[in-house]
Subunit: 215 residues, 2 copies
DNA sequence: ATACGCTTTAACCATATGATCAATCGACCG
DNA sequence: CGGTCGATTGATCATATGGTTAAAGCGTAT
């Protein structure tokens, strides 16, 4: 109602809460997060959190859905696209690295959340896929499987199950973000060093992956 | 303290607490875990937890160190071993898959823990590497870098930084365990299906990885 | 017998925390 | 201006939670 009633800030309390909650949930983990801290970060009364989201659980659900919707659809679309395999690999990796570059802490958050709440996870992932429901995953696998079959028959790649293909791709792209704190220590890199590491990776990863497919 | 004073169960309270705490921490996350639940699971009084570990923080630290010591050393040893590259890749992947097969929830736990406590993480990882301190990581990288250099000069592989090599290897091996709840949904697999998926993976992964290295 | 370390029991404290409620604010409508 | 209704607040409640304490039981070693 009455858009732009205020200055440029466009102070929408609900959105401010989601934003603040996201930050706090990511940093502290869902059970480590405190409603008071979220309210403070959103510069809003704690009661308002319950007014909009009912409970901490409800807020967590909303935040998770939001995060999932940021991560999944773009990649899924790239996986399902009807384009040559090489281009697809480049696009998936490019999309993934670009999204994760903007939200580097999302993978860790999502994986942690799923590890502790596997039950509600599928309902949320389902929500993340938008209207296409949960068949989107298997649909993407079918498209991919057919494409891999054709490429193999043409002798351009060896046989590989689409599941293995997809997990390899996701693993190589996502793991460096999800495991960043660990890898920084193991590799002995500081923040800048890690950024450089990721830059190089963006350039080399598709090549590595595609070579792995060759007959 | 007279080992084996009791029956076969060898009821060592301290160990029972660690075991129970591990299970609860993994399932609920560190901040989601309750000292009372841990005490109950260990069939021990809550006061005893504090008697041995001082605080929840102390207990969490001990449990994390224990987990890290289970995950890291074997792999690090395989990475540093003075054996041909192909054999090394097979051994690292084999070791990783075997350890993770026995402790499938460790990666998720360790990554979550590190995501929320990056500060104390390095001190713990340090502890996990035993007496060799934190130089072990960089030492492994040096050995690996030298080996990759030789292979490249011999024309058997293309140029690749040891950091990228290592992260690729770890990503491909660890990610399927860390992201298991997510992948089960995306791939539409139940528990048995996922086991089968992992079996196939163990057989095919080294080949995929080694092909990716070829010139 | 005595001392000592491990363990239990049971209660208790201070605080943190999620949740709730009545009251207030502020815009819009008549 | 008075009224209505959703948005927002300050104060408060009930409980959960980490941590502590004191007293006692028990087995072993000295």
């Amino acid at each position: 109602m009455t858009e732009g009633s205020d200055s440029g800030a466009e102070r929408d309390a609900r959105e401010a809460i989601l934003e603040a909650a996201h930050e706090v949930f990511v940093r502290r983990g869902t059970s480590g997060a405190r409603m008071r801290e979220i309210a403070g970060a959103a510069d809003v009364n704690q009661a308002l959190l319950h007014y909009y989201f009912g409970s901490k659980e409800g807020l967590a659900r909303a935040v998770f859905g939001r995060a999932a919707r940021r991560l999944m659809p773009a990649v899924l679309r790239a996986v399902r696209a009807e384009i040559p395999l090489e281009e697809k690999v480049e696009r998936v990796i490019g999309t993934e690295m670009e999204v994760l570059g903007r939200h580097p802490y999302l993978p860790g958050y999502v994986l942690c959340e799923l590890a502790h709440h596997p039950e509600r996870a599928d309902q949320l992932v389902e929500a993340a896929l938008g209207e296409e429901s949960r068949t989107a995953g298997r649909e993407a696998l079918r498209v991919l499987g057919r494409q891999l079959d054709e490429e193999r028959k043409a002798g351009r790649i060896r046989a590989i199950k689409p599941e293995q293909f997809l997990v390899n791709l996701l693993a190589l792209a996502i793991f460096p973000f999800a495991a960043r704190p660990l890898l920084e220590i193991v590799l002995g890199l500081d923040e800048d060093g890690y950024r450089e590491f990721l830059d190089r990776r963006r350039r080399e990863l598709a090549g590595f992956f595609l070579r792995g497919l060759r007959p």
